[in-house]
């Protein structure tokens, strides 16, 4: 361990958000630097800063943690190594699930090091318990939390490489520059980073300071860049969990109960199933009956052939109608009576929605007597590791958890139920296990966005909105994946009154009305039903803000105003109005449309970013509406990779099309009816607009969150367009939600 490089990642506008990070030289043959993710300026400046956003790990670690981490050789969060062949290897303690963070982080490293992007490798770190609560991918926080530290680490590496070249040439470092992976002397001599890395690793450089480039000098960051892993994806060489070749790990599937959380009473034909072709082993585990076979095809046949008697589950009697009644009863009451003022009241219902990532829940586990190794796509690997260690009776340091790149998440992979189940099966069978959930199981026994009920009331007079109340009742969202621990640990610091539940804290820190609507109150009440829920891209905002955007259109109508003009008038900042103006102009707002067609607009502001969405819908057949055009504008403060951001917004738009118009789960006597994409109608090409235009506004501050931003504005825009095109007032989502299929047997 060398001495820390004291450097600052300073935002161009000066003192605001100035943060310092400690960077350490790691004792290694080649130049390796590590930086703490936690800034030493930990305390948020104002209470408001905490309320308006979900606290980032960097903001909630206290000083004691920082010092303990800084003093522990293994405790550094971001590790950058310069190899002898001139590459930069970076270990990222986050999960890549398609959101493009590895590309954005590689861009930051390449920029700061003056190294071609093709020479930067980003690897997903294994679960590292010493990171405490700092290894969680969620709340759109990756870029926000690593932007400063990544740049600083790379800047420190660059400073050391320059120092090494200066030493080698006997030149003062201020005469040297870097370019394309080499240090250049005034006389034109060059030395590659690869040739300098071992010297740079050895130099004693007390008091070396390194400051990241000013953002005005960025040439790569902020320019549209393609994903670094796209080639592997289009050639089929990308390895997802089930593509890994782990010695001895055989295909395994689980027969699951006919209702959620049911358990096995007895297996009635074990001998017959064991005798089926290819079957290797069978074990009863908490989730059901696991079968291992030579191929997944045979494991699936064996699972289907099992005759099992089941105990009941936790919600056997529940169907949609009961859930809806309970939600309606649970919505907190309004405060403002509608007696003396003009008002708009509306109630909305949103169905359960499956996360349905295309790669089903899957994991590999190799559990031995004295150690275990796990491979899975995990967004909260530390909690996964702790829980798995406890469940299989091993000390935590005997469990290794590898984070693999995964086929989508949308919130699903915050949970590690697949990894835990694989470990339990591996222990029971005493063999390595390659576990795959069937699609049907993934949809029926996997997780879902909870159903919600909304009551909204706005009062108005003389062209002003006086009060705005939004009451949400939701089936409880399960946050037991580590975010709970993070917030519980800091609950004392959160300036929210009284004894709020964890979910209410999340609700209050993420959902806010962007309009100047007078006295605003938004409250959440959760109904605890023992079902498998999880936050779904944009958590509460898709429904809550989506419903609000619908009400905004209705309010505008009451006040005799155009929806865009009304929003412009009531939005609070110029930044917000700029994205709205952009879509209104680029989307030709107000143009005449044929009967059955209409435009709709929506706005959303979250995680220090804001966006507007304008869509055109063809609803000539109200049962088969299609969004035919979308125009989106977003201001994310500082775009790292505009191309990646556009991809995220496109994904959010598609999610909104699906969940607003057709995709949801029906709960029937304790189990979702839907079991595949032929029944859960996630959008396909024919539902997706052939004309999409996305505008990313220029940088004007620090990076905001963007992974979840796109959904709520698009939900509002689509619902509003549908309402206008059909002359209806949509209140229940998805709008077209018939059971148009024969469910699979249970």
């Amino acid at each position: 361990m060398g001495s820390p490089t004291d450097s600052t990642a300073e935002h161009e506008d000066g003192a605001v958000n100035r943060r310092r990070f400690l960077t350490f030289l790691v004792a290694a043959p080649t130049l390796t630097l590590a930086t703490n993710l936690a800034a030493d300026a930990i305390a948020p400046g104002t209470a408001e800063a905490v309320v308006s956003i979900l606290p980032q790990p960097a903001e909630i670690m206290d000083l004691g943690d920082v010092l303990i981490l800084a003093g522990t050789p293994t405790a550094h969060l971001l590790v950058l190594e310069l190899t002898e062949d001139g590459e930069a290897h970076f270990e990222l303690p986050r999960a890549e699930v398609g959101q493009g963070i590895t590309t954005a982080v590689a861009m930051l490293v390449a920029e700061e090091l003056d190294l071609p992007l093709s020479k930067v490798r980003v690897r997903l770190a294994d679960a590292r318990s010493e990171l405490l609560m700092n290894q969680l991918t969620g709340s759109s926080n990756t870029i926000r939390s690593v932007y400063g530290p990544v740049r600083q680490t790379a800047a420190a590496a660059r400073a050391r490489l320059i120092a090494a070249a200066g030493k080698q040439w006997g030149l003062s470092t201020d005469r040297l520059v870097t370019r394309d992976g080499v240090v250049v002397a005034p006389d034109g001599r060059t030395a590659t980073y690869g040739s300098l890395t071992s010297l740079a690793a050895k130099l004693t450089l007390p008091g070396l300071t390194a400051t990241p480039k000013p953002e005005s000098e960025h040439t790569l960051v902020g320019t549209p860049t393609s994903r670094i892993d796209a080639r592997a994806m289009v050639t089929g060489t990308m390895r997802y969990t089930l593509d890994l070749d782990v010695a001895g790990a055989k295909p395994t599937m689980v027969r699951r109960p006919p209702t959620i959380n049911g358990t096995v009473r007895s297996v009635n034909n074990e001998a017959a199933v064991r005798a089926m072709p290819g079957v290797i082993d069978l074990a009863v585990v908490p989730a059901g009956v696991a079968v291992m076979a030579a191929t997944f095809g045979q494991a699936l046949d064996a699972k289907n052939a099992l005759d099992v008697t089941w105990n009941g589950g936790t919600v056997d009697a529940l169907s949609d109608a009961d859930i809806r009644l309970r939600l309606r009863a649970a919505a907190p009451p309004f405060i403002v009576p509608p007696l003396l003022t003009q008002h708009v009241d509306a109630e909305f219902d949103f169905a359960f929605v499956s996360h349905a990532p295309l790669e089903t829940n899957s994991a590999i586990a190799d559990v031995r007597d004295d150690r275990a190794e796990i491979w899975a796509g995990l967004k909260s690997p530390i909690v996964a590791k702790q829980t798995i260690a406890a469940a299989i009776g091993l000390p935590e340091d005997r469990v290794t958890v590898h984070v693999t790149q995964s086929g989508g998440s949308f919130g699903r992979r915050l949970f590690f139920d697949g990894a835990l189940e694989a470990a339990q099966i591996s222990k029971a069978m005493a063999r390595p296990v390659k576990l795959m959930w069937s699609r049907i199981d993934d949809m029926r026994h996997g997780r879902a966005r909870p159903a919600t009920h909304h009551k909204v009331r706005a009062t108005y007079a003389l062209g002003r909105v006086l009060t705005y109340e939004h009451r949400v009742a939701a089936v409880e969202t399960d946050f037991r994946h580590g975010l709970g621990e993070i917030l519980t640990a800091t609950a004392a610091h959160l300036p929210v009154a009284g004894n709020l539940s964890f979910a209410q804290t999340v609700f209050l820190t993420t959902v806010k009305v962007p309009y100047d609507f007078g006295v605003v109150t938004e409250l959440l009440n959760e109904v605890p039903l023992k079902m498998h829920t999880a936050s779904w891209r944009s958590v509460y905002s898709a429904n809550t803000r989506g419903a609000e955007e619908i009400l905004v259109d209705e309010l505008a109508k009451r006040l005799g105003k155009d929806p865009v003009a009304f929003r412009r008038e009531f939005l609070k900042t110029g930044r917000q109005r700029a994205v709205l103006d952009k879509v209104a102009t680029a989307g030709n707002w107000g143009r005449a449309m044929p009967a059955g067609f209409a435009q709709g607009v929506g706005f959303h502001d979250e995680y220090k970013s804001c966006t507007a969405c304008l869509v055109e819908i063809d609803a000539r057949d109200p049962k088969k509406p299609r969004v035919v055009k979308a125009v989106i504008a977003a201001d994310v403060g500082r775009p790292i990779n505009p191309r990646g951001l556009e991809a995220q917004l496109l994904g959010g738009l598609t999610d909104a099309i699906a969940t607003t118009l057709r995709a949801g789960l029906h709960i029937d006597r304790g189990l979702p009816l839907e079991g595949s994409y032929s029944q859960f109608h996630y959008a396909r090409q024919k539902d997706s607009p052939p004309d999409v235009r996305i505008f990313i506004l220029p940088a004007n501050g620090e990076p905001g969150g963007a992974g979840e931003l796109g959904v709520p504005a698009a939900v509002g825009a689509i619902a509003n367009a549908y309402a206008r095109a059909t002359g209806t007032r949509p209140r229940s989502f998805p709008i077209n939600f018939d059971v148009d299929f024969t469910p699979f047997s249970r």
Binding site: M233, V234, L358, T360, T654, Y677
Partner: protein
């Protein structure tokens, strides 16, 4: 157990397998060809889309007995050595993939479409059923048009 001989990406393979084992699991579990992905197993999601004698098929519902003596091409066999197929090139140029899981199937479906129809209309592109849960459809559409222009 019966034996089957067929070609996979230009190489002849011989395997022992039950007649009704689907080609998807023969490829993935017996031959280690993991480009075709499982997403549903019942010909709904199309993530496994590959080619049989040049036509798009869904190996999750094709029993191995049906491919005896025939030519199977998966995403791994599309490029010509280091030279990508124009559809793969177009996919990179449009930066289509997000999680990437559906993309082998999407690309194989697009290649099959372009073989039949050099200049597909929007309505013809709409007929592609492959699910992309990351919602990359618009970029897929653009990439197909770009590939059509190249080819």
């Amino acid at each position: 157990m019966p034996t089957y001989t067929f070609s996979v990406n230009g190489k002849t393979v011989t395997i022992d397998a039950p007649a009704d084992l689907s080609l998807l699991w023969v490829l993935r579990d017996k031959l280690g060809v993991t480009g075709p992905k499982y997403g549903c197993g019942i010909d709904v999601c199309k993530a496994c889309t590959s080619h049989l004698d040049g036509e798009a098929i869904n190996p999750c519902v094709v029993p191995v007995s049906q491919v005896q003596g025939r030519e199977v091409t998966t995403i791994e066999g599309l490029a010509d050595g280091g030279t990508l197929h124009p559809v793969q090139e177009a996919w990179l140029e449009q930066d289509v993939p997000q999680c990437g899981y559906c993309q082998p199937g999407q690309i194989m479906a697009a290649v099959a479409l372009l073989r039949k129809n050099k200049n597909p209309t929007d309505a013809e592109i709409d007929a592609i059923q492959n699910v992309c849960r990351c919602g990359t459809y618009f970029r897929i559409r653009e990439a197909i048009k770009r590939a059509a222009a190249k080819m």
